[in-house]
């Protein structure tokens, strides 16, 4: 009985104390911030560069962030926020992540069998888990686990693939990849170079049959200033991307659309 009385009294006193503190020392919430907080998506992915959606709403309210920074908001919501803040909306360029590697088990060689922790960062501690190409995708899914939207799939033949329809371009996977294979590219670009190895073509061929071998066919096929070469690696100019037809020129399949390469092996 004493316990019940004691707890009730404690509860009442504490409640009263909290009430007094809020009444006299509490801050009045910013009405603009509250409204913005309702409009932000609430996914807390961090793609805007702020700590969660609340941080972004606060930053927008005090004018230190632009409404277009959130990769997840659709244009209607951005317009609404612009109207609230009284600023002009800027044209946005939706981005999408691309894993720049074709080295799945069908194309790339493995030098050793890896039986350690199922994580790319951990595999990097033991000589890259035995993948022949030291630049290639390890396929252990660090990026897939980092993705808040479930847009990255680890295919059964051990390569990470981004599903562009699910990807919002927040860039979390870019940091998660220990081999720095993931690039944020404009959603409008139809083809990408699925290889990141700066090695000589012959050396790449030793480990991977789908590597960019630096044959320059795509450079010739594409329009002026659309594809350039960086050593033996083709680089797409994403300000002026070539159209999907260029992919047909690639002899290895390193230059292709985001459509998933189907496994040729059972």
């Amino acid at each position: 009985m004493t316990t019940v009385i004691l707890l009730t009294v404690t509860g009442l006193v504490s409640g009263l104390a909290i009430g007094i503190v809020v009444k006299f020392f509490g801050t009045t919430p910013n009405p603009l911030e509250e409204k913005l907080l309702e409009l932000v998506p609430g996914a807390n992915c961090g793609g805007c560069g702020f700590a969660g959606c609340e941080g972004y709403a606060k930053a927008m309210a005090d004018g230190s962030a632009k409404p277009g920074a959130c990769p997840l908001m659709n244009d209607a919501v951005v317009q609404e926020i612009c109207a609230l803040l009284g600023v002009e909306s800027e044209p946005r360029k939706p981005m999408v992540a691309v894993v720049c590697c074709s080295g799945d088990d069908d194309h790339a060689q493995r030098m050793a069998f890896y039986n350690g922790v199922n994580d790319c960062q951990n595999a990097m501690l033991v000589a890259g888990g035995g993948k022949g190409c030291v630049y290639g995708c390890l396929g252990l899914g660090s990026c897939a686990r980092a993705c808040p939207y479930g847009a990255i799939e680890i295919r059964p033949n051990h390569i990470a693939v981004v599903h562009p329809e699910l990807c919002v371009g927040c860039g979390k996977c870019v940091l998660a990849c220990p081999r720095r294979l993931i690039k944020l590219t404009p959603k409008s670009a139809p083809v990408h170079v699925f290889c990141s190895s700066p090695e000589r073509g012959a050396l790449k061929r030793k480990f991977c049959s789908a590597a960019c071998i630096g044959c320059r066919k795509c450079v010739k096929e594409a329009g002026e200033n659309q594809v350039s070469m960086n050593g033996s690696l083709a680089v797409i100019n994403y300000d002026n991307p070539p159209d999907a037809a260029v992919a047909a020129a690639c002899p290895t399949g390193a230059l292709r659309t985001t459509a998933i390469m189907e496994s040729t092996k059972g």
């Binding site: 030098m111 050793a112 039986n115 350690g116 922790v117 951990n122 501690l125 000589a127 890259g128 035995g130």
Partner: protein, 444 residues
């Protein structure tokens, strides 16, 4: 009953020291050697020879870059065929020189011998640096750095490490049997440099012949040979210090903090070679062992001998090895190429057959606590690994993950087959990266 010297924790895996009765063999001169310019911890050496140069045995090939670095010397006479890169035992590409031997093995002019009893410590340190001596126990830390402790830290005890607690390896054992005098001289030189009063030599009591030989070799030089209870990882620096002196190295500290310095017996022999005979370090004793091998044994390999050549010299294989490990079974690294050369720190090459290899299914931690009992540093590897899996690296740092010596006792005892050492290594890498980032931020 006599109290047996040992440390806290540890395990006793099967010893499998099949090559312990095989004397050290001098292999014939090979046609080519791949000499890596980084055979040590620290900055790689800078090549001082170019493609096409004629070199003699013991000639300087690469000079040390900075203080924590070591020079590299030619293993035999011949022509530098290429300045290239090669795969190191850690799996990373390192700069290397391809040396085509001329078969003559002409020695270069040796450095003059030094009478170490009269020589000032500075001269001796210089000689040890010039001879490219690094710790031969496994970490390959440049010896001269170890022998130059900060002036406020006085080293009073030198501990020689003849423990060889790794299963399968017998290189140090054979070295103690065959070169006991040199080890004693090397130890005395080291003690002379440091001004250490006490010299202790730790040997596990599964090597009674080595204990006997060393006791005879030390004579009345004042070196004390300590027989230790067999327990892995007794050969780890901090564990050995505790076993022979009872002193504990503080967390995050160095043996110099408690006035100790540990040196491998192989390093001591190399110091004797460098000081008394002017011979730089270009060869080492390596155990090549494993059930797939026809004749396991101990070889005095020149650095740059590839693993393929080493296995060929050991009579080749009678069955296909499924795993090849550089070092011992507990702390060695699995390698995926036989083009890796033997370097100054290669203590063993171990081949495993199909039935010796176990593939584990990792299961969740069942909190049995076996890892806690076996951890020689007194950590809690099981619980730590769970936190590390959840990427709580700050917590791991608070729980002293940086004290982990990666001995593998926890993973060896784990009934759930958890890859605990890999988790620890991940956390250590993350903590180190965070510390570097914080330091860079502070400097900015």
């Amino acid at each position: 009953m006599i109290k047996q010297l040992h440390f806290y924790g540890g395990i006793h895996p099967a010893e499998d020291k099949v090559a312990q009765s095989v004397p050290i063999v001098e292999p014939p001169i090979l046609e080519t050697y791949i000499v890596p310019l980084q055979q040590h911890i620290g900055a790689p050496a800078k090549a001082v020879v170019a493609k096409g140069d004629q070199v003699k045995r013991g000639q300087l090939l690469g000079e040390a870059q900075g203080f924590v670095s070591a020079p590299v010397h030619a293993p035999t006479s011949g022509v530098i065929r290429e300045v290239t890169t090669c795969l190191g035992p850690s799996g990373a590409q390192v700069p290397a020189l391809l040396l085509a031997s001329d078969g003559e093995d002409t020695p270069a002019e040796p450095m003059p011998a030094i009478d170490w009893r009269q020589a000032p410590p500075g001269d001796l340190r210089q000689r040890i640096a010039a001879a490219g001596i690094v710790g031969k126990g496994g970490a390959a830390f440049p010896t001269v750095v170890k022998l130059s402790p900060p002036p406020n830290k006085k080293i009073d005890t030198l501990i020689l490490n003849g423990v060889e607690c790794e299963p399968c390896l017998t290189a140090d054992h054979r070295l103690m049997l065959e070169r006991a005098e040199d080890i004693v001289t090397g130890a005395q030189i080291t003690a002379h440099i440091l001004g250490a009063k006490t010299i202790l030599l730790g040997i596990e009591n599964n090597k009674p012949d080595a204990i006997e030989v060393m006791r005879q070799a030390v004579g009345d030089s004042g070196i004390k040979v300590c027989s230790l209870k067999v327990r892995y990882p007794q050969g780890a620096e901090k564990q050995l210090i505790y076993a022979v002196t009872g002193r504990k190295v503080p967390s995050g500290g160095l043996p110099a903090d408690i006035g100790c310095l540990v040196q491998n017996v192989g390093t001591a022999a190399a110091i004797a070679d460098a000081v008394c005979r002017g011979k730089p370090l270009y060869e080492r004793v390596t155990t090549v062992t494993g059930t797939p091998l026809v004749s396991p044994g101990n070889w005095r390999f020149r650095v740059g001998t590839t693993y393929a050549d080493a296995i060929k010299l050991a009579g080749g294989v009678k069955e296909d090895p499924i795993k090849i490990i550089s070092g011992g079974p507990m702390m060695g690294m699995a390698v995926y190429s036989l083009d890796i050369p033997v370097i100054k720190s290669t203590s063993g090459i171990l081949l495993l057959s199909q039935d010796e290899l176990t593939q584990f299914d990792v299961r969740p931690c069942i909190r049995c606590g076996r890892c806690n009992d076996s951890c020689p540093t007194g950590m809690m590897p099981g619980i730590l690994s769970v936190q590390i899996e959840n990427q709580r690296y700050e917590l791991a740092e608070k729980w002293h993950v940086m004290d982990c010596i990666e001995c593998g006792c926890c993973a060896y005892t784990c009934p759930a087959s958890r890859p605990l050492v890999q988790h620890m290594r991940r956390a250590k890498a993350e903590v180190q990266a965070a510390r570097r980032a914080a330091k860079a931020k502070a400097e900015k």
